[in-house]
């Protein structure tokens, strides 16, 4: 206790030295709002791990003296309640509570609704886990960047998952003839399928789409969907179901003998083997929303060390291995920290929101899955890891086998080009 107070004190004097230039660094804590699903089906596999990571990182940063001496005052908020509730909550956070930054949002629906508020209300918002490519893209390519002056996403969009899956299927299952899709009925599911379908048509034109199903988010009974898919007889079923939906679907599908005939390709299936356990079927194609996998080791030494520390620290605190939402949470909170530090260096003093936003554009910083760059379109770009589930005696759940990493350049469209147009322009 005393030690932390001391370090804070020393940093206080240090910051004064910098603050001589223009703006003194305030001594009040930095208010960070972290919004994730804390209740509902998405809480256990996404929201809680994400929120845990925010808490862990805030704790670690505070122990190291905070951001330029300012402690982080982390406020965890619940993302449940629907889009409209999120718009209202975000407005309250920015206008009434006057937080310094909002980090958050797992659902693409929340992001699409909330991120425009950044410019409308003049608050910094960093989306940390939502996937839709439409979030930062304009109506037609080339589009103007950035779309939002104060809105960011500290990760890559769903293009990497679905392009990665298509590339993987082409490489490992070139004989695939029929595919089908079951995706949640909102932006995330619709866009995931769109990109996957476009990529498949380009890569494997002979493949036929036999069925596309759109269960609502939070559906409880998948029997009708499962048998409809089995009736259509595809080789591979693409799915971006997530949270409780993915678990429920898997359980009911196991009961109906689904996996005996059909292979699933999950665009973000990484958390579920750990969530379902031993019963999780083998041989399913799974993408990790980047290279966020606890058994993955980045090539460069610094990142590899960071990964080792991150997995260890997380497992020590919460008794589980970090899943991809954890990595995303790490990226978001550290993107803010590094951007503030970079901006402070440039302006000499605590930066304004616009200066932080300027610093965050083009920022590159180390993360446990390798260095991450946030581009001029305010979107992160990442490599993508795809593998196949396989049971081993070492872990009580299937792990990934035949891991394949697709480099960022292969799965991310260039700045200003719409993902669909980019895929269609492939030779």
């Amino acid at each position: 206790m005393g030690a932390t107070a001391m370090t804070a004190g020393t940093f206080g004097t240090a910051s004064k030295a910098i603050g001589q230039a223009k703006k003194p660094i305030p001594t009040t804590p930095v208010k960070i709002a972290a919004v994730s699903f804390l209740t509902g089906a998405a809480a256990a596999p996404f929201g809680i791990p994400g929120d845990n990571t925010y808490k862990m990182c805030a704790d670690v940063i505070n122990k190291e003296g905070g951001i330029l001496g300012r402690k982080i005052d982390l406020q965890s908020k619940d993302e449940a309640g629907g889009v409209d509730a999120q718009v209202k909550l975000c407005r309250k956070l920015i206008l009434e509570d006057k937080v310094d930054v909002v980090l958050g949002y797992i659902s693409s629906a929340s992001c699409l609704a909330v991120l425009p508020l950044s410019d409308e209300l003049g608050g910094l918002i960093v989306a940390y886990d939502c996937g839709t490519h439409e979030l930062m893209e304009g109506a037609k390519s080339p589009y103007e960047v950035p779309k939002f002056k104060l809105g960011f996403r500290s990760k890559a969009h769903l293009g990497i998952d679905n392009i990665g899956l298509a590339l993987y299927i082409k490489k490992y299952y070139p004989k695939t003839k029929k595919v089908a899709g079951i995706n949640p009925d909102y932006a995330w599911g619709r866009d995931s399928w769109l990109i996957f379908e476009v990529a498949m048509k380009k890569l494997m034109p002979q493949v036929e789409v036999v069925k596309t199903l759109w269960p609502p988010l939070g559906n409880t009974d998948y029997t009708a969907h499962i048998s409809a898919l089995m009736g259509a007889g595809p080789d591979i079923v693409h799915s971006s179901l997530w949270g409780g939906d993915a678990v429920t679907f898997s359980k009911q599908a196991i009961g109906m003998g689904f996996f005996k005939k059909i292979r699933m390709a999950y665009s973000r299936g990484e958390p579920y083997p750990q969530e379902v356990g031993k019963d999780y079927p083998e041989g399913q194609i799974i993408c990790c929303a980047g290279t966020h996998y606890f058994l993955f080791s980045p090539k460069d030494k610094a990142s590899a060390d960071l990964q080792k520390w991150f997995v260890g620290e997380y497992h020590k605190r919460y008794g589980k291995y970090p899943t991809y939402p954890c990595y995303h949470a790490y990226q978001a909170i550290y993107a803010y920290k590094y951007a503030v530090e970079k901006a402070t260096k440039a302006v000499g003093g605590w930066p304004t929101i616009d200066e932080i936003a300027k610093a965050m554009t083009g920022l590159t910083f180390p993360t446990p899955s390798g260095p991450l760059t946030i581009r001029e379109d305010h979107n992160g770009i990442e490599d993508c890891l795809v593998g196949i589930t396989k049971l081993t005696p070492k872990y009580p759940f299937p792990i990934l086998d035949k891991m394949e990493v697709f480099s960022a350049a292969k799965v991310n469209p260039p700045v200003g080009t719409k993902t669909v147009d980019w895929i269609n322009s492939w030779k």
Binding site: A43, E197, A224, A232, G233, Q252
Partner: protein, 311 residues
Amino acid sequence: MFSALAPARTWVGARVFFEEELEMWVVYTLNALYFAALLFLTSLGLNIILGVMGILNLAHGSLYAIGAFMAAWTIIAIGMNVPTFFLFISLLSGFVLAGIVGFLMEKSLIRFMYKRTLEYQLLLTFGALLLLEDIIKMIWGGQAYYASAPFDLLGKVDILGHIYPIYFLFVMFITCLAGLFIWFFMGRTKLGIMLRAISLDREMATGLGLDIGRLSTFAFVLGSGLAGLAGALVVPTTPALLGIGMEPLILAFIVVVVGGLGSLKGALVGSLLVGFTRSFGIAIFPEIELPLLFLIAGIILVVKPEGLFGR
């Protein structure tokens, strides 16, 4: 760019269905029956309350949720250390707790509403819905409860070359039992006949010297219990979650409206209608399955406003 293809795809889907997927009709039918079974239990409860007391209980879905949470909690609590038989008995805990909550609700709130006008009756149950949703959250928290042991234990069976979980058949069986029981109870026992008398004419029943207060309590408890039982039966196949009762409630509304207010036969036919529309709708017209359901309900109501078996 693919939006324009959506309707076209629907028709292609229909063609593909009739050419290639007809062999799956066994499974589609079973799915429809399974879905109808769960819905029948829910709407039966709603219908008994509506028929006997004349109150549309908007909090019915919350009672369903209470049944689901209670059953999931019990199954998790007793774990795998007991004989399998007890796992299935523990599903009854949902019925019991929902019944108890129904009892408390009737005694503390609903009984003041019999003489009030419609808007107050509906708003009171709406208030109860909001209240119960948060009470569930207070007791069980916002987490998902996975309790799939009964589902996993029963395993699978081969029906005409299709693998099907035995648990779904079990649910249909329990529903048949419950349906037969209610049918027998309402038609043959003295208590049931008294309840029907009330539902036909409340004032006359008072004149006959029936104890309306107690009979209403009984009907409410029975109806609530049935919702709880439906919730309990669903929980081995899907996690118990906040808001789990909302969709069954809406579908139960449709069943009750289409079948006829207060009609048991109507509840059965309505449930089957919804079950089959859903199962085959998802297989043939996946894009418009839900609006299709409401459209069918709407057409029935325009043609026969009192419902198929309404008075």
